[in-house]
Symmetry: C2
Amino acid sequence: MTTPLLHTVQVHKALGHPARLRILAMLRRSELCACQIIAVLGLAPSTVSAHLADLRRAGLLIARKSGRWAHYRLAPSQSTRAMTDDWWRRVRRDPQIRSDAALLGQLKSVPVEELCQADLNLARLAISRHT
Amino acid sequence: MTTPLLHTVQVHKALGHPARLRILAMLRRSELCACQIIAVLGLAPSTVSAHLADLRRAGLLIARKSGRWAHYRLAPSQSTRAMTDDWWRRVRRDPQIRSDAALLGQLKSVPVEELCQADLNLARLAISRHT
DNA sequence: TAGTCATTTCGCTAATTCGCGAAATATAGT
DNA sequence: ACTATATTTCGCGAATTAGCGAAATGACTA
């Protein structure tokens, strides 16, 4: 158990990192597989996993495990939605956020089986093969 | 110059510390002198000054210097107000925030000249002398 | 002009955070 | 059972942050 003050601090700490904001921005559109998030961010899988754990601990997203894959989506809570709506207005036009969305749109056409185990460059190759 | 993403990160980092949230909560009621904030938080003046500088850099509050004293108030921007309104709903009933408000209410009756140069204990003595 | 005092800046140490690779976990397919 | 593999956990070095006291700054006062 924790106080409202410390919980609020934890939430804001979770939002205080570009990679974690990028993750939340991606998840606004739809639930995603961990490997898709890893491919878009271009960071080591262990690093992304830690960021996802931070966001989950802060109550901002929830995980769903389906076989080997882990799917993440935004937590449905009221306060989470209000909070993300707030910074979303400022961030939606950010170049990094927009390029993330563009890359993610292309990744959607790649089967998850091919995407996983591939770093960002391989992901791009897979895109060119599938479009 | 910075991107919208990095600016948003900076704002959330500023909100990701209990002392800084306590400062913003206090300033919701009214502008305050630095010495009043120092007395309520019970931290070293240099520490509080650093927190205030963080909040100012994030654009969340603005400073006004009047003689020897520095007065701080919330920045009047729209987004700042929306953001503080969000976490305020969760934090307003926090015991730490409430005791801050109670102490601050009593500090208001103490002249600034007596309050300054006094730590929290001296501040309490001053309160008992003035009520 | 010299002194006092509120506040900030500086220098430092301890604690936390970030990122990675390696190892561990767990699940699908053979 | 065994292998392959998606994800997480662990251990560690680099970078950042938090706190303090000491010194510097700037403004009132005598």
